[in-house]
Amino acid sequence: MSEDSIISLQNVNKWFGDFHVLKDVDLEVKKKERIVVCGPSGSGKSTMIRCINRLEEHQEGKIIVDGIELTGNLKNIDSVRKEVGMVFQQFNLFPHLSVKENITLAPIWVKKMPKAEAEELAMQQLEIVKIPEQADKYPGQLSGGQQQRVAIARSLAMKPNIMLFDEPTSALDPEMIKEVLDVMIDLAEGGMTMIVVTHEMGFAKTVADRMVFMDEGRIVEQAVPDKFFNNPESDRTKLFLSQILNH
């Protein structure tokens, strides 16, 4: 593990039953680095980032996040989850709570923040994602793009050092994708460490420091975007890029 890595996956293996989803995955992420992970569906990219905050358990290898190794130790898992925010494809907002309550829930209960302070924090986060006027609505009353931005605000309210995005725009109508990507670009420019699983190659070209391509549970290729898109090494990468870029 190199000195300035904030996330380090070493030889990680994982199985779902007999199915080998992650095969000898090695990945080092530096502080403030923006990684975009792509690959065909079923290639293990979501599983990999879900291992980083232990929503999935890896069976072999080491995962170290901000100096804490993820093992069965519940205390370690809790501290890692406080460091790592996650945004899901299906938003997963809490439908019985208002937008503001969705965001203040964790600060109040996990960080024991006073309610007034948490609400102020929530409003700040909603400013960042540009929908402060929706604070008192319920998730069911918002559009998909707005819901996803609330989900981002909810994660940011815990002041994470790392943000994981698991196909954040895949469930959105085309015209809502941009509003979510804009928020993510702002975040990237603010210096957040980010790992983004996405098929939005335009976004990848603008913000990624490094592209990671996965196929069949392995990391096939890692490169800076310029090299990755214009001069990929592996044939599998070439085939994948030709399929998603030429249509």
Partner: protein, 377 residues
């Protein structure tokens, strides 16, 4: 001549009472036949039942104006052709129906408990109740107050539970059973879904055992066998033993109902709760259970109604609930043969409570439908 674009009134035949009748009762000939048949039955039955229960009925005095003190004085015994119900039996024994054999000079304690029960429960049921937060504080301490009020202690004279009876016993069993079974059921439901195999297995075993056994068996178990498990010299109150049985029974059913609600919560909710750092209990209390319980409200009310009616089974182990008092009244030789009146009255009291519960469930369903959209997308 009126302007041609002016809006006209709809044809008479589609609105108003006539329109409604035509649309709903006589829309085609099958519908019309069924409507006529039902109307005929109602026409035959409703006047008769109203006449029997109210217009031709005796309440305190018979048709000669004498105060009724035994069955021979009932109008329907004196004149079987024209006499209606003889409610005097209920009137004379009303105290027993409400309180059993609770001493008369102490009965204010029961009445006070009834009033406090209303104050404790109503704010709990309606979340727009004014000053609800403050009332709920009272709801939490109410069981303790009610215990000392009804049972005695703290300077109040002790009233043994074998003097309790009638509606008092029915309400104590129903309310305590429902109130205790709710948290127990939640814990059992969570336990059954736990990742820890020992906990999950124990909860499953408990639930399946209790659900596989009739309530009567559990009542006998509470009466006969529970004392064997208690240390020597500790004598558990009869009503308390029955309460244990009723609560265990109800909690198993409640657990299954809530488990059903838990299963409807998408995995993403758990993952989101975990990813923002909530602990297991925070996740369940703040995210999962509020949604799961909302979904299960109709079934929760349904099992609660079931329990409320099942409390009548305690007659088997010698407790005199509302129905038990009724059967006692029937066995009294001065009032022999007034079974219709007694069972009608007991049914009516049960109906008032269960109907209120069922209306409440409908109200909640409507509120949840028009309120928050529960769809996650």
């Amino acid at each position: 001549m009126s302007d041609i674009t002016e809006s006209r009134k709809p044809p008479v035949a589609t609105t108003g009472i006539l329109g409604w009748l035509r649309m709903n009762l006589f829309s085609n000939w099958v519908n019309s036949l069924i409507s006529l048949f039902v109307l005929y039955i109602l026409f035959q039955f409703v006047p008769w039942i109203l006449n029997w229960t109210i217009f031709a009925a005796d309440f305190k005095y018979n048709f000669n104006g004498e105060e009724i003190i035994n069955r021979e004085m009932c109008s329907r015994v004196l004149d079987p052709e024209n006499g209606g119900a003889c409610w005097a039996i209920i009137y004379v024994r009303f105290y027993q129906f409400m309180y059993g054999f609770y001493p008369r000079e102490e009965v204010w304690r029961v009445n006070l408990s009834y009033i406090m029960l209303a104050v404790a429960v109503v704010p709990l049921l309606f979340d727009n109740f004014p000053f609800r937060k403050h009332f709920l504080k009272f709801t939490y301490v109410f069981p303790v107050i009610a215990f000392f009020l009804l049972n005695g202690g703290l300077g109040l004279e002790s009233v043994s539970t074998n003097k309790w009876g009638g509606l008092l016993v029915t309400l104590v069993l129903g309310c305590t059973g429902i109130a205790l079974a709710f948290p127990l059921g939640i814990i059992l439901a969570l336990g059954r879904r736990s990742n820890l195999p020992v906990i999950s297995m124990m909860c499953t075993l408990f639930i399946e055992f209790i659900r596989g056994v009739p309530l009567i068996t559990l009542l006998f178990f509470g009466m006969v066998m529970l004392p064997l498990f208690l240390p020597e010299g500790i004598d558990m109150d009869g009503l308390a033993r029955v309460l244990v049985a009723v609560t265990l029974f109800q909690s198993a059913y409640m657990a299954e109902v809530i488990r059903g609600g838990l299963q409807a919560i998408p995995q993403g909710q758990y993952e989101a709760a975990r990813s923002i750092g909530l602990s297991y209990w925070q996740m369940n209390l703040k995210v999962v259970l509020p949604q799961a319980i909302r979904i299960s409200i109709p079934s929760i009310v349904n099992t609660s109604i079931g329990l409320f009616k099942d409390t009548t089974l305690v007659i088997i182990v010698g407790l005199l609930d509302l129905l038990g008092i009724g059967r006692g009244a029937l066995a009294d030789t001065t009032w022999l043969g007034l079974a219709y009146e007694v069972y009608f009255f007991v049914s009516l009291v049960f109906f008032i409570f269960t109907f209120a519960m069922s209306r409440y469930s409908l109200y909640l369903e409507k509120k949840l439908k028009t309120g928050i959209n529960m769809g996650a997308d």
